[in-house]
């Protein structure tokens, strides 16, 4: 009766075919394709391992949404900063986090990138500019500002990119972060991945404006930007533009990337709260087959693409083996790294 799945569907836009002829180097496109494959295959495996109860707790997958992470990853400088949410696997991998330690972290092993302390929701790899995955809505937008402020003060030219969901635009921290970013002209790009749902609630039912991020850009003196988040090229171009401007001192940007998650919000969520027609329409707009077709159209050989796919599959297998071979962390690790001296000593 009060089932959201009977609501009208929100359908994706058709693919913008002009993107095929956009001025993007073919090598860049191939590496974006590899990135898409990495994110997809890694997360499918993570989901399998979750269903096998090897990954405990929870996971939040970006299946269907990979174009955003891959497009941005390609446009960023190695020393730029990424801030992500609990839905952060894709962003971590897109910045170059190694798959083995990433997978081991999901399995709670001591060879995980966080030694098992963080888990799926907190992937971080400072050596790659992946400054963390944050599991409480809103906070990391404010923290991203801080990294951008630091880069500004150090004159390093680094740009910070901060990803978050549509639902996140309704929390107070969003507002505080965007205002401060503009007032201080910080080199930060805020990217709203609008997948139309917060957890299980459709975003339009609980938001005062149709485009939760873009329709609010003016509140912060920013341009309203919407990009097709399922088109890696469109994302790559928008990312390049915003990042380039920020790097030159042009201040922050707010980009709304429209996309959709193929699966549920987290764990084993079957996502039945969505109209079937909507799910199917977006499945047709899956970024990977589309990009595959585009690359073929641009003259890349089918064999080259399938070899990328096979390479990635082997990497994911290896990462899985690496992870499974890891030890479960022991008592010693429990009490380390609360404080910078490496300990958790709060008394003498």
């Amino acid at each position: 009766m009060y089932d959201y799945s009977s609501r009208p569907s929100r359908l994706p836009l058709p693919v913008d075919e002009r993107m095929a002829s956009a001025d993007i180097d073919l090598g860049q496109r191939k590496s974006i394709y590899r990135s898409l494959q990495e994110l997809r295959q890694f997360e499918k495996r993570a989901h399998d391992l979750f269903l096998q109860n090897l990954v405990k707790g929870t996971t939040h997958l970006s299946l269907g949404m990979e174009a955003v992470a891959a497009g941005f990853g390609a446009a960023m400088r190695p020393d730029d900063y990424t801030f992500a949410t609990y839905r952060g696997h894709a962003h971590a991998l897109a910045r170059g986090m190694e798959m083995g330690p990433a997978m081991a972290e999901l399995l709670g092993r001591s060879n995980g990138v966080l030694g098992g302390k963080g888990g799926s929701m907190h992937l971080t790899d400072v050596s790659r500019g992946m400054m963390g995955s944050y599991a409480i809505i809103g906070a990391h937008l404010c923290i991203a500002n801080g990294a951008a402020w630091s880069a500004q003060m150090r004159g390093s030219g680094q740009v910070t990119v901060c990803f978050f969901g549509d639902g996140t635009t309704n929390i107070g921290a969003f507002h505080e972060a965007l205002n401060m970013a503009k007032v201080w002209q910080l080199p930060v790009v805020f990217v709203c991945e609008n997948n139309l749902y917060m957890e299980y609630t459709p975003i339009d039912l609980i938001t005062a404006v149709p485009h939760p991020a873009a329709d609010r850009a003016a509140s912060y003196g920013l341009e309203s930007v919407i990009v097709d988040g399922n088109d890696p090229d469109a994302v790559y171009l928008a990312a390049g533009k915003a990042i380039g401007r920020a790097r030159e001192g042009g201040g922050p940007a707010l980009i709304e990337a429209t996309t959709y998650r193929t699966g549920g919000h987290s764990r084993a969520d079957p996502a039945k709260y969505r109209p079937l027609e909507e799910v199917e329409a977006w499945a047709q707009r899956d970024p990977i087959p589309m990009y595959h077709a585009r690359l073929l159209g641009l003259g890349v050989a089918e064999g080259e693409l399938s070899s990328i796919e096979r390479d990635v599959a082997a990497d994911v297998d290896a990462a899985t083996e690496f992870a499974k071979a890891g030890e479960e962390p022991t008592g010693e690790a429990l009490l380390t790294e609360v404080y910078a001296d490496g300990s958790s000593r709060w008394r003498n």
Binding site: Y2, G119, M198, Y200
Partner: protein, 325 residues
């Protein structure tokens, strides 16, 4: 009697009260159509409709503001904050507004509201989704604070919390949601401020809360069987009001107090109980006052680490045993 899971008991308690009081409303993120991320509010939307059971934006301050403003103008409210860790994003609403406004206005306003939230660890959710923050609430004057450990107590304390004219923070333990227990099929109404002696004993008192209660009970059984140590286990249930009578009477009998708490070590509710006993029952004591707590660390995600962090049956057993030796 019906056998319910703890998670069903949450919904049953809310439903019982919404049937009784047609002005009672509920709100929170994903609580309506989805029945809550922990499925603790399943069926309520269908029974009570979208005016009384509301899905909200991710706006915890607005959620609690709505609860506060409505309750102070005649509409009692149950608000859900999905995970208790998120109390931090609306802490001002709780600690500074809801808790203090009655006093600041010399009693002009009342806040018949309940803030329900999923508390506690052992679900491998990591540092930002696993905290036990009952001590955060206990330390704020003006709040009442409960944390049931069984389905029957969940229904009874939910009813008591809803009917109480003061704001109540209601901690539901995530790792108890799947546990089962008998719940009377008649109307169930408990009382805030009553601890329960869930096991009688004479050698030591162990005070526990929520998930720590079954663990304390299991440890007590083993201590009895393996060591002949007779442990009295108190389910504290209500931190505010606090049933100090039951606690002090028990310590008078046993002469020893242990607390088992999931919140991190410093300034936990255990420290409060210890301090009360250390002042008021000092001359009854036969040995040190001992806290068994999660260490003073954020909770790790890995199962092996989390199991080491939160007080286990073994740790309770060993601590009591070695301390009574």
């Amino acid at each position: 009697m019906a056998e319910l899971t703890y998670r069903e008991a949450v919904a049953a308690g809310i439903a019982q009260e919404m049937r009784r009081d047609p002005s009672l409303v509920m709100l929170g993120e994903d609580v309506a159509a989805a029945g809550g991320v922990f499925k603790t509010t399943v069926g309520l939307l269908d029974e009570f409709g979208p005016d009384r059971v509301r899905d909200t934006p991710i706006s915890e301050q607005a959620i609690l503001g709505a609860a506060m403003g409505a309750s102070m103008t005649g509409v009692p409210v149950i608000a859900e904050i999905m995970f208790s860790d998120f109390l931090a994003v609306c802490w001002d609403m709780i600690a500074n507004e809801i808790a203090k406004s009655r006093y600041m206005t010399d009693g002009q306003v009342s806040f018949p509201l309940v803030i329900r939230t999923a508390n506690g660890g052992a679900a491998r959710f990591g540092a930002q989704h696993s905290q036990s923050v009952e001590n955060w609430a206990m330390m704020i004057p003006g709040l009442k604070v409960v944390a049931p450990s069984t389905p029957a107590d969940t229904v009874a304390l939910m009813a008591a919390a809803v009917r109480d004219p003061d704001p109540v923070i209601f901690f539901e333990h995530k790792s108890l949601f799947a546990t089962k227990g008998e719940v009377p099929e008649v109307e169930v109404v408990g009382r805030l401020g009553e601890a329960s002696i869930v096991r009688e004993g004479s050698d030591a008192t162990v005070a526990a809360l929520a998930l720590m209660v079954p663990r304390a009970l299991e440890a007590a059984d083993r201590l009895q069987q393996e060591e002949g140590i007779s442990v009295e286990v108190i389910d504290v249930r209500s931190l505010v009001p606090l049933d100090t009578k039951t606690l002090l009477a028990s310590v008078e009998k046993t002469s020893r107090l242990f607390t088992v708490e999931e919140n991190p070590r410093l300034c936990g509710w255990g420290a409060e109980l210890i301090s009360i006993v250390g002042e008021e029952a000092f001359w009854n004591l036969d040995g040190p006052l001992v806290r068994i707590t999660t260490p003073h660390i954020p909770l790790p995600a890995a199962a092996s680490l989390e199991d080491l962090a939160i007080p286990s049956v073994d740790r309770i057993y060993e601590t009591v045993k070695s301390s009574l030796r």
